[in-house]
């Protein structure tokens, strides 16, 4: 149980990831799919941020003259989170644009209804 108590952030991240992913895959509503995608991505960033933080250390900005690396945390995970956020923003934007196009074409946000209309169109 000890490792569960110390790793609660990672556990939360994995749970959120699963919630987000199942929303992305199984939700029929397109907007909820996008929300699922955002939750999924945010879970990864939580995971990265939790992994990157070490209790009792600070950001690597030298103010009081301490140059010893053991006082600071690694700044790379935070950089990765930033990069990841930029990527996921562009993907969400693309998904929303797709949703707008689909809504204009089929007047619904429900993917099952869209598929039904599409099948009718083809017959």
């Amino acid at each position: 149980m000890g490792s569960f108590a110390t790793n609660y952030e990672e556990i939360a991240a994995v749970l959120l990831f699963v919630i987000g992913m199942s929303n992305l895959v199984f939700q029929p509503n397109l907007l909820k799919k996008i929300i699922g995608l955002d939750i999924m991505d945010a879970a990864v960033y939580l995971f990265l941020a939790a992994k990157g933080y070490i209790e009792g250390r600070t950001a690597p900005i030298v103010v009081d003259g301490i140059l010893d690396a053991s006082h600071y945390i690694n700044p790379v995970p935070a950089g990765l989170v930033l990069t990841g956020i930029v990527v996921s923003v562009s993907v969400s934007a693309l998904m929303m644009a797709l949703t707008v196009c689909l809504y204009r074409e089929y007047h619904t946000l429900n993917i099952d209804e869209i598929m039904m209309k599409l099948r009718k169109e083809e017959d």
Binding site: F17, L24, V25, M40, V87, V91, M95, L98, C101, I114
Partner: protein, 497 residues
């Protein structure tokens, strides 16, 4: 440092810049920029290939002035250079082969966007080939996905929006899994560059610590990239995505986009996780199983399909299965066969997709069997191209598909208990391939009665014909003179280690 060593970097930056410049250009100029860019990339990659083959060893190229464990770098070996040559060649022939269709099917205001997407695709594929940094690979995976999504929906019809949506959902799940695998890997090794990460992993493996996280990483990375490349149970987006967009885009999506991910996976296996730990984790067996199932199920689905574009797309599912089967054999010969099949499938599939567009054109734009009767007689070049592509798919000697099958079969002989399964499935899959491809070819050459027969005035595009003939020659050339390519793949894989 020789000047040639800069070329891979030039290729990536050239394709990115042509995308940026094309934003302020109209469609015609964007087209010229794209063609010039791909030609330049092809020439530069050929120079790189001959340089690396000459020196016989790989080298790393620092992006910026920070040395190995901190900076970002790209790494160039013979296999990477070969892949760059192949990707740019197929990209060029596919775009030429569908140029008249692009002009007709893509709205005028969107033409420059189409070429921007192709430029971005080229940039991301090159970056996936060359990069030595895992996070850079992730970023370019996403760029690749976004560009591919744009290519799928470029015709702006309801059908293509739905295909793009399905593609995006599967792809995003894949890249999410890949990213979390990457995060785990970073947290246990502390490195994002491939070579230092491998060194750290080797130490970890030597003392048997972190065994569970390592297993989870292997699963997440493999499944993530497997989903994105359309491995069997995750293939549902393939027929939609390849089946309805403009022919060039279908050809590029099937022969390049999914292959970029597979190449990255091979690279991560060799250069980060270590092929031995992949074998000892039994991941190869899982890949083998899914590959084998995909080979059969993809062909079965193709047999049931009445629309030949969707049929060809389902055949891609089977061919991706071949590649994963080769990887799953767990031997170097298997990986060589898989890499060769990446190339040879690209050559065959782009030819098939381009020729299908020529055939549907002379059949009232319909692509079901009934309408396609006699289409090979109405459009002779497209008919011949489809026939060559089909024969190659089946594995006719003198064509590239035969060499792939031969390599897979001979690689299986050294794979122990997987040998019988691999042979049996190869045989079954060949029979199934023959069934649906020969059925189509026979349909194409079935004469129709005079009253059904209409005269079609073909808009003959010289560029399209030249590109299709080029692809036919490439199929034959790779089938007749495959030895240099196989040698290069073997040498390149040796440089990977």
């Amino acid at each position: 440092m020789a000047f040639v060593q800069n070329f891979p970097f030039f290729c990536i930056i050239l394709s990115m810049f042509s995308a940026i410049i094309s934003f302020v250009m109209n469609g015609r100029i964007a087209k010229y920029i794209h063609v010039a860019m791909v030609t330049a990339v092809l020439i530069l990659s050929l120079a790189t290939l001959s340089f690396v083959a000459g020196t016989g060893e790989s080298y790393t190229f620092m992006m910026g002035h920070f040395p190995a464990p901190w900076g970002n770098e790209i790494r160039i070996g013979e296999l990477e250079a070969l892949m760059a040559v192949f990707f740019s060649l197929i990209m060029m022939l596919s775009v030429f082969g569908g140029m008249a269709h692009i002009d007709r099917e893509v709205q005028d205001s969107k033409k420059n966007l189409f070429y921007i997407l192709l430029d971005l695709l080229m940039a991301s594929l090159l970056a996936l080939i060359y990069t030595n940094d895992l996070f850079t690979a992730y970023v370019f995976i996403e760029i690749n996905t976004i560009a591919a999504c744009g290519l799928i929906m470029i015709k702006k019809q309801g059908r293509t929006y739905v295909s793009a949506l399905r593609y995006m959902i599967m792809s995003l799940v894949g890249s999410g899994l890949f990213l979390i695998g990457l995060t785990l890997l970073y947290s246990i090794t502390g490195h994002l560059l491939m070579s230092p990460a491998k060194e750290a992993l080797d130490q970890i493996i030597a003392v048997h610590s972190y065994q569970v996280p390592l297993m989870v990483i292997i699963i997440l990375v493999t499944v993530g990239l497997g989903i994105k490349s359309g491995l069997y149970p995750f293939h549902t987006w393939i027929p939609d995505a390849y089946g309805y967009t403009t022919p060039s885009a279908s050809a590029i999506l099937s022969s390049l986009v999914s292959k970029g991910y597979i190449f990255l996976l091979i690279k991560i296996f060799y250069r980060v996780l270590g092929f031995d730990s992949i074998i000892s984790s039994h991941m190869v067996n899982i890949l083998f199983a899914f590959g084998v199932i995909g080979m059969i199920m993809g062909s079965v689905a193709a047999i049931k399909e009445r629309n030949i574009r969707r049929m060809t797309a389902y055949s891609s599912v089977a061919q991706i299965g071949y590649i994963y089967m080769g990887l799953g054999l767990g031997t170097t010969a298997g990986v060589v066969a898989a890499v060769f099949h990446i190339i040879s499938h690209g050559v065959m599939k782009s030819l098939l997709f381009l020729s299908i567009s020529g055939l549907t054109e002379v059949s009232d734009g319909r692509s079901d069997y009934l309408s396609l009767r006699g289409a090979g007689l109405r459009n002779r070049i497209a008919g011949a191209a489809f026939t060559v592509g089909s024969l190659s798919m089946i594995g006719m000697p003198l064509l590239t598909g035969f060499i792939s099958k031969y390599l897979f079969a001979s690689a299986a002989t050294t794979a122990g208990n997987k040998m019988i399964t691999a042979w049996v499935v190869l045989a079954i899959s060949t029979v199934l391939n023959t069934m649906y491809f020969m059925r189509t070819v026979l349909t194409l050459y079935r004469p129709v009665s005079a009253e059904v027969h209409k005269e079609y005035t073909l808009e003959k595009s010289k560029i399209e014909r030249a590109a299709i003939i080029g692809l036919i020659l490439l199929n034959i050339g790779l089938g007749v003179a495959s030895q240099p390519v196989i040698k290069a793949i073997e040498a390149g894989l040796a440089m990977f280690g």
